[in-house]
């Protein structure tokens, strides 16, 4: 049947198209996550500076931004910060209560402080929504780019796609370009001035690259980039799920590099 070949080819093409559209969902999602992180940091800094008029010692004790914001949101004023209530947020409850009593901060009334609470609440919401989108990224990458995901994890996969622009573009990139995706500035400096080329771009966030010694980092990055280039092609052509196999190969390569 001569129609059959044509049908199979057409169906393959359509599956591929459908998938490449879905890669854009991943890219928008990761961009949203990055933007929400920025917004969260902005809000957090504002809340910290603002509330420090009232209780400047608190950020010194509670360093984790999320914990800090939860405390502000629920126990806004110094007199409210009792050990009993603080306990569920932090092991430093006792210390906070003690500091609150002898704080150098100004006495602000409820009305003044309420505005800060608003912003703290908003920052917490932004963080929660951001985490929801991250969960979604974990899900869609499983479906659209299973091979890349197996090698790089969902978030790094999304960052790479976002830097490349699309799965198609990434699939057509040589490994050497993938290796320095996200290091455009350093690459530019290398070309313009006389500094050594970057060893890695965003793939620095891969745990194996990160934990490599300074000497090995270049080799590990190159070997990871080689595998990622193959994974991107497999995902793009929608052929096989070789993720596990490739991860194993990568780990064997690592053993060799590290000797």
């Amino acid at each position: 049947m001569k129609d059959r070949k044509k049908a199979i080819e057409e169906a393959r093409k359509k599956v591929k198209e459908a998938k490449t559209e879905r890669d854009q969902l991943i890219i928008h999602s990761i961009k949203a996550v990055e933007e929400m992180d920025e917004v969260f940091n902005l809000f957090y800094e504002r809340v910290e500076n603002w509330h420090s008029l009232h209780f400047p010692e608190l950020p010194e004790i509670v360093k984790n931004p999320e914990t800090y914001l939860h405390i502000i949101n629920e126990l806004l004023t110094r007199p409210e910060m009792k050990e009993e209530k603080l306990k569920q947020h932090t092991p430093k409850a006792k210390k906070i209560e003690k500091e609150s009593k002898k704080s150098m901060g100004a006495e602000l009334d409820e009305k003044d402080l309420k505005q800060i609470k608003r912003l703290a609440k908003l920052a917490i919401d932004v963080k929660n929504e951001r985490n929801e989108i991250e969960e979604y990224i974990k899900d869609v990458t499983k479906e659209v780019t299973p091979n890349l995901r197996a090698l790089a994890g969902p978030i790094l996969t999304a960052r790479l796609l976002s830097l490349a622009g699309s799965l198609e573009k990434m699939a057509k990139m040589p490994a050497s370009t993938i290796q320095v995706l996200g290091a455009e500035k350093a690459l530019f400096a290398h070309l313009k001035k006389n500094v050594p080329p970057p060893k890695h771009g965003v793939i620095f966030n891969h745990p194996e690259v990160r934990k490599s010694s300074e000497d090995n980092r270049g080799k590990v990055s190159r070997s990871l980039a080689n595998k990622l280039a193959i994974a991107a092609r497999l995902d793009y052509f929608g052929d096989k799920h070789k993720g596990k196999e490739m991860k194993k190969e990568f780990q064997e390569k690592l053993k060799k590099i590290r000797g």
Binding site: M1, D3, R4, A7, I8, E10, A11, R12, K14, V15, A18, K19, E143, G238
Partner: protein, 221 residues
């Protein structure tokens, strides 16, 4: 016992004659009988298999049939339809979502009578080219407008050709009584079809009915 051509009932279990000996599709059992390889066909996994076990009187899909299969999914049932239609038959498998399509394509590559089409059963124009010789329609799309979808696809049938339709009552209307839903859908089909058989697929598939119907007269496309 050969229940229909290429469909066997052995110890209360259904089998079809394997078009591609040695190859399994969905983890089913393979069996050798009188020099033929048979593939077991599970009523819980396939509505057509359950309809046969529930007493379907006639099966319009026979060796040589040219079948348009709407809602093929990963091809579990479609593979058995392909077994029955055999070498001289043809099964055009329409599926609109890309995930099952990814599994359907390699299946079609192994089966010489199977054509995969990634398309929407609401838009028969998209796959008309592959359907010039179609003489049976099998539909299992689990969509709210399932009767309308079949009516849109009757253009491929001649007077006297038959269609098999699975109706899921839940997907049309979650609150209305399943019986009422079936009756409504059947009355819509009467526009183009004479209803030959209706079966309930309990206990294999809850709230599902199976309909065999015959095209009344030529419709304008």
């Amino acid at each position: 016992m050969e229940k229909f051509s290429n469909v066997f009932l052995i110890n209360n279990k259904l089998y079809t004659k394997n078009l591609v000996p040695g190859k399994k599709v969905h983890g089913e059992k393979l069996l050798n009988r009188n020099g033929k390889e048979l593939r077991s066909w599970h009523p819980y996994k396939s509505k057509l298999a359950s309809a046969i076990l529930k007493g379907l009187k006639e099966l319009p899909i026979t060796p040589g049939s040219k079948v348009l299969y709407l809602g093929a999914s990963t091809g579990t049932t479609a593979s058995h339809v392909s077994d029955i239609a055999d070498k001289n038959g043809k099964v055009v498998c329409v599926e609109y979502s890309e995930k099952p399509m990814e599994k359907l394509i390699p299946l079609a590559e192994k089966r010489s009578n199977m054509l995969p089409v990634m398309g929407d059963a609401n838009k028969p124009k998209e796959y008309t080219d592959y359907c010039q010789d179609v003489n049976v329609v099998y539909q299992d799309v689990a969509q709210p407008n399932q009767a309308e979808i079949l009516l849109k696809n009757t253009r491929f049938l001649e007077k006297g050709d038959e269609a098999l339709l699975c109706i899921k009552s839940r997907s049309i209307n979650a609150v209305e009584e399943p019986k009422k839903v079936f009756e409504k859908e059947i009355s819509k089909l009467r526009k183009d079809f004479r209803i030959k058989e209706t079966l309930e697929l309990k206990p294999f598939h809850k709230d599902h009915a199976f309909i065999r119907c015959k095209k009344k007269s030529a419709t304008s496309p």
